[in-house]
Amino acid sequence: FRAVPDDGGLVDADEDKDIKTEASNDSWGNNNANDGRLLSPSPGSSASAGSNKSAAGASEEQQTLLAVLQFLRKNKLTESVEILRREAGLPEDSLEPKGAESSGAGSGGASGGVDLEGGDASSLLTAGEDQPDVNVVLSAYSQQGDPALYEVYYSGLKRFIESVLDCHRAELSQVFYPLFVHMYLELVYNNHESEAKAFFEKFSGDQECYYEDDLRVLSSLTKKEHMRGNETLLDFRTSKFVLRISRDSYQLLKRHLQERQNNQIWNIIQEHLYIDIFDGMPRSKSQIDAMSGSLAGEAKREANKAKVYYGLLKEPEIELPLDDEDEEAENEEGKPKKKKPKKDSLGSKSKKQDPNAPSQNRIPLPELKDSDKLDKIMYMKEATKRIRLGPDNLPSICFYSFLNAYQGLTAVDFTDDSSLIAGGFADSTVRVWSVTPKKLRKVKSAADLNLIDKESDDVLERIMDEKTASESKILCGHSGPVYGISFSPDRNYLLSSSEDGTVRLWSLQTFTCLVGYKGHNYPVWDTQFSPHGYYFVSGGHDRVARLWATDHYQPLRMFSGHLADVTCTRFHPNSNYVATGSSDRTIRLWDVLNGNCVRIFTGHKGPIHALAFSPNGKFLASGATDGRVLLWDIGHGLMVGELKGHTDTIYSLRFSRDGEILASGSMDNTVRLWDATKAFDDLETDDFTAATGHIHLQDNSQELLLGTYMTKSTPVIHLHFTRRNLLLAAGAYNP
């Protein structure tokens, strides 16, 4: 993890080093803390959960540490061994006597891990912490109960829950799904195949429909042998299913189970469920439905309590005289009126420090180059011509259709200034188009560059080779479908991530590949450049999102915690946070500084394929295969809206430049426009929900929907607002 900072890099070298060492320590500490939190019983359940539980937890933790130590030693990472031992407070000799025992466990873990992670050393490490050993994990199911009684227990509980007061019923019904799954798995683990089948047939119909996919996986699993190496199953075991239940309802359940001496169920609840108890009114069915649906239940409340600096960074002060000259040169009249307010607004913006903004150098950002400054000036100029959007003033949509893309268009990106389009294809090529009259040119060869007069003013123009000018260029290098693509903000680089497990950095000057970032080893589903350049994030099938810097071949941070593939990744506008969406149907927000997970959002009922931050950094929108767009308040960690209307997977979400309009593009061949201002305004007034975390969503999708635009037969896979608020959409025509 300790990457050597590159002095020639864009980052302040000292700063960089600080962060990295801190990070490597932190990530350990963080993970340990996580484990601790996971294993220590919640305040509510502490009364019932015995103290032996925490003791067992501690010893398990110890074992984990030992396993890691063992691993490090085996790989001769002596320095890390030292650090770990010192930090964990393990005695020098702790490894020796227990070594034999834990090495067995360790190798078991490794062999189990190979199935899972395919020998990816770094991910094995992280996996190793969560899942010390498959055998250990599974053995939790070994407790024997009479298989015939499972049905009795379950239907007994069902009868009880159906008989309780209405207000508690919805809450207690949440228990059904995790109980069902764990009881089924216990039956399978103990080789009661026919009982398991009968149990499944009898009760699977009771489960909520949004668990259908998981149940289908579960239904195919009928043998103990199948459980080994099944990720979904391990997720169930390792991550406790989180339920949020009001204290009253919980007491009711507890009393019932104790009266009936129903230990089987009680044990499962103790061991595999995490019940987050709150004081107050029980939630309604719709409230519960809004938040549930993820692979591991809802997010714990404390998971979303950390402070998030969602404010925007201060815009660097750029001297505008250049701008003035330009404009005066362009307009003879000179429009002092127009310029003045613009300058003022800029000034006021930069003077006032947003209390929610992170400090300017929380994350070291690359210094602005002259070309960046020019671009900023261009941006401001364009911004003055921006159309103000609103419900009465909808944006125009320009659709870029990819014709003849029989190989399959899998990813699209536009540059911020909308001058270039890049497409990633299933035949592993990346193509870049220029949509302005300016053609794409390569830099001349080294020999030709020698002949150039380096002192001349237009040297940047002279280095380009006119002969190579064309409207599009093809970048070949990947060996699998390209699933993610992203332009750097300065338009000099392009990132692409592919099925082949690599992320590649391409130069848009030479149109060649500069770096292949290896680390994921499995398909990389998405990648994105930070809005400030230099950093980028990638996420893939290995369930880890990684933060990279362009000049380091190893990742700077690894964000692990998702229980299934990381399907999409987005940078926060202030570059301090990264949001990731996953097939486990959760969205996580990660702090780039220390790698902590600071937010977990649950509520989607399918894998998440699109994320978008609002331009002010306060809100996040997410879209999934369930065809719904959910809106989240980052600061409060709350769901604040649900936009229903799409009938298929949403692949693209984008806020207009001023954040008034949210555009969504979907597989159902439509672009829809939503009134974002209204969606956020309606909820900001409600303080109570913010305090309790229990939202009550109004069903106002129809009011918020401003427009639906069908394409002929083109799934919309990318959307982009130009700097003047023209909406660009892209997709492959699919006759």
């Binding site: 489960q207 289908r216 479908p481 401003l706």
Partner: protein
Amino acid sequence: SDYKTKSGLPFCHCPTKLHFEKLAKIQPCSVILPTESMKAMAESVGVGQLQEESCVAISEEVSYRIKEIAQDALKFMHHGKRRKLTTSDIDNALKLKNVEPLYGFQSQEFIPFRFASGGGRELHFYEEREVDLSDIINTPLPRVPLDVSLKAHWLSIEGVQPAIPENPPPAPKEQQKAESTEPLKVAKPGQEEEAAIQGKSQGATAADGKGKEKGLIRLKPRSTHELSVEQQLYYKEITEACVGSCEAKRAEALQSIATDPGLYQMLPRFSTFISEGVRVNVVQNNLALLIYLMRMVKALMDNPTLYLEKYLHELIPAVVTCIVSKQLCLRPDVDNHWALRDFAARLMAQSCKTFSTTTNNIQSRITKTFTKSWLDDKTQWTTRYGCIAGLAELGPDVIKTLILPRLTVEGARIKAVMEGPVVSNIDKIGADHVQSLLLKHCASVIAKIRPQPDNVEQYRTDYGYLGPMLCSHVMKARTQAALQAQQVNRTTLTITQPRPTLSVSQSGLSGSTGPRTPSIIKVPSSLTLMSPRPGTPSQPSPPATKYIVMATSAGTATTQQVITLSSSQSASPVTSTVPSATSTLQPLVKLESGSGPGLTGSRPLQKYIVVSLPSSASSSLEPKSSVIPTSISSTSLEAGMKMERSESPGASTQSPH
């Protein structure tokens, strides 16, 4: 057969229902591979006598792994932004599990297997068609697949979706219908509000004013029909191509009319264009243009996205004109206007079938019209022919009730012309055509309703002059009953439609994926018209498809090209050029189908006979076709540019006349 299990899995996520419901039953572990397969596979690798339990265990394990792989493959499908699982997704999923992917199963289709069963055995096989090498060598190369390209269009302009071909049709057929039948309901949201406000204010005034208890008088919104510049250009191009001289262009234009989904806004213009065009060209006796216009009607009717009901009042008179008009061409004695009447009659029958309802009564009104003029003694032979054709095309029931009872009368009339004193050549030709028309249509009907023994004398007493001829026709019809069942769609005037037998240029190669326009038999532009009758060369060849293309080059000797395509023999098309003396001028295309003479095989012989106009005729057509259509299109364009139409509810029920 491994792919069989996949069918049990969801390839596409159904969007979650808005109200979450309890789950419908999932069948646990529903599909398992048959144990016999395991046994067979074990034997194939040399393991005999595999125990039943082992087989069960293996098949369960394999089924489970396959399902796992299918679930992983689903991820690749989602990230590939597709709705269908492909074999490459499976390959990628296998790669994920460190299993070597299946090589050689790249397929254009999503699941390349075919299923066959018989004799109690089931088989999945990978279909490989047998291809004749010489076919491949002789076929023209397929189109080169085009490179990926970008095309930009406006999906929406300030919230309004422009009606351009790149966008889906602005109004689906149901909406078009709703608009024309219940115009008040489907006013646009803005207009509706307006209307409501109007209604309110009117209601208020009505409440204030004492007498007007009737309240809301809802005004029909005036709708403007504006065509975008692109649409105007399109309209101009299409109409010019439809009536122009280039056959290839016309075919393309008609294809566009028949398939393009975005034409609904141009429909009023097309309708006016056709009705005006027919009006002008009937007066001018311009047969070629009338044919072109009728083909446009056919194309419009073929377009599934158009709601034509609203424009029948313009189209039906035009079509009927082409059926019954006294004169349709300059030289009635030589030009084949009969085929136009036939074609238009078929169009009429088709529109009766599709559009006739109990409220508009198209069919009965049309039938009345035809019968009335047929019964009139003064009706000319041409109109008579049209009336009979129009009635006959309506179906056997109409023939039975309306035509058969009049056969005797009509026979006497024909006899008077044929055997009486020579009146005029034109009458004679007319009578001849009517006779053959009656024989053609009546024979098949009589064959069905009359009991078997066909007695010539009996026929003579029943049907008069036509009796004996009918008798022989009926007998022929009976013997050909089986073949007639395979009759092709006879409303086809064009030979540009792709037919399997015509697929000379379609390759059997798999590689090409581009959207290909149906292969068009390239007919030289002047080579469109033909006569069904004269000089049909009957070739004693094996059952085959024959194209007889007669071309005339600038007034010189006429040559006949006979292209014989045999689907059973793998020979390349034989093209022989036969000098022919037939300089007939009947400008028509007809597709004849039926059995070859003396043919006993079951394969029907299809003859495409194409005869051209002599260049003098076509050049005489040229100036007209360039003058008339352009004048039409320009005037109607100007008129239609911004045509405001106030649609009164009464206008929505059309009267064909």
